[in-house]
Amino acid sequence: MAGVLEAKGVRKSYGGREVVAGIDLALAKGECYGLLGPNGAGKTTTLRMLLGLTAPDAGTISLLGHPVPQAAREGRIRVGVVPQMDNLDPDFTVSENLLVYGRYFGMPEAEIRARLPKLLEFAALETRGASPIQSLSGGMKRRLVLARALVNDPDLIFLDEPTTGLDPQARHLMWERLRLLLRQGKTILLTTHFMDEAERLCDRLAIIDHGRMLAEGTPRALIAEHIEPEVVEVYGEGVEEWFGAQAKQLATRAELHGETAFCYTKDAAPAVASLKDHASLRFLHRRANLEDLFLKLTGREMRE
């Protein structure tokens, strides 16, 4: 059988503007694969094409062995989707939402009912089965959407920005649940623009911008490949002067963005020593992370 999800040379244009300009990816069973990109990078359009909701202009897609979009419906039988914006049914209770959604998969009522307690427990909503949707917090709604995506016991789960808008507690609970799913052998494709989320969850990830894949690999390997291992961030009174006079000599690569100087280097000791003599400057010495990689590849200018 083919891989869990494969895409080759996938492209899509709207009104002459190429939104997705050649995406290639292949997900192995049980891995968590992340699509990282700034707003408007083409993440959601890519997901829609992979699910067969939008036909690509070029390229081939195979979803759980089914050609997409021709047999996308058959592929979706074993897929769960957590959309970017909650679309729970406001007219139904928590349990009714799961029950009604299960019917869209052609599941018999008894089978869905038998799964309900486990799904509610997974969503940490055991006592809220009869609650109206309006009474749930943002985190609860998000977990219910995740539980709803699991109603058909899918092999592959799509998550479009699963923790956007959640508070830290709710995010951690969401991450814990996603790791639990990975331990059960589920395959996950997620989009995010939270670097900590990607670093925690993803086995592999691709950074995309302007519809193109800029880099792909494991988070640590990508960072090692593109970024110097140590970073010193400098800010405070007189940072521009310090940057102009010293930064270039003390670091392999130095950039000034707004009021912060970023120094990338193999050895941060000289920079740190220099900063000890500047009482007005504050600094943070840390390991290079995914955010450094992301900003290097996609640039620092603001996106709409």
Binding site: Y14, R73, V79, N87, D89, V100, Y101, R103, G106
Partner: protein, 258 residues
């Protein structure tokens, strides 16, 4: 054709059932709303005009009015469902988006909406029919056929209404449909008076409109007569509904699957 295949495959039933379950939660309010409005028209006009117009076409005015009222009530029921409620599910609540992520196609969803809106017509039509019977306005057994007729009227107007839903940016857009398309039909198509008394050119317009054909079947059935050319009138309703549905589906594809 993909719609015929979707109809047979039956995946639309789960979507139809979702709408039915929501309706059932508020059924009492919904039915009361469906009955009260036409009831006011029926009693207000029926009793009010009865002093001036004792009989129309050989029957009591209120009985004449009842047959037309049932037809336009079913027209409105399907229209409200296909436009306002359909738009809420497609756009405002994103219910369709959730359904389309499951192994359900857009054909299944739009088909379910069409049949559901017609089901609302059937429910409303039956409710007002029972009220008319309770008021002693009619007791012919031919009235039984008004129940399937209500479903057919629903298919006709919901099919056309879904075109508006597919084009709408907001609820405000639907005002055009109601004021420019449905209200004129209520006034011109013989709900309140026979169209035979209208000027020839108005009659010509009226006879091209679907509500005229609905009433041409519904009123005789209510009064215990067999309608003339029932198949022809039913054919016009089917044609309007099927054409509307086909255009709507094309527009929905363009809007949601582009």
């Amino acid at each position: 054709m993909s719609v015929a295949r979707a109809l047979v495959a039956g995946r639309w039933v789960a979507v139809w059932r979702r709408n039915y379950l929501v309706w059932r939660k508020l059924a009492a309010v919904s039915i009361a709303g469906n009955i009260i409005d036409p009831l006011f028209y029926l009693l207000g006009f029926g009793l009010g005009f009865a002093t001036m117009i004792p009989e129309v076409e050989g029957v009591k005015y209120i009985a004449f009015l009842a047959g037309g009222t049932i037809c336009y009530t079913t027209m409105l029921a399907a229209s409200f469902e296909a436009l306002y409620s359909g738009f809420a599910r497609m756009h405002v609540q994103r219910t369709w988006e959730g359904i389309l992520n499951a192994p359900v196609s857009l054909e299944d969803v739009v088909l379910a909406e069409w049949i559901w809106a017609a089901s609302k017509s059937l429910l409303s039509g039956t409710a007002i029919l029972l009220v008319a019977i309770a008021l002693g306005l009619g007791q012919s057994w031919t009235m039984v056929f008004i129940v399937p007729l209500a479903f057919l009227i629903g298919l006709s107007f919901a099919g056309m209404g879904l075109v508006m839903t597919a084009l709408a940016k907001s609820y405000d857009f639907f005002t055009y449909w109601f004021t420019l398309v449905l209200t004129p039909q209520m006034l011109l198509c013989g709900v309140f008076f026979p169209i035979s008394g209208l000027p020839g050119w108005v009659q010509a317009i009226a006879s091209s409109l679907p509500l005229t054909h609905a009433i041409a079947i519904g009123r005789p059935l209510f009064l215990g007569q067999w309608p003339d050319s029932a198949l022809l009138h039913a054919g016009v309703l089917v044609a309007y509904g099927a054409a509307g549905f086909w255009i709507a589906l094309t527009l929905f594809r363009r809007r949601l699957l582009a």
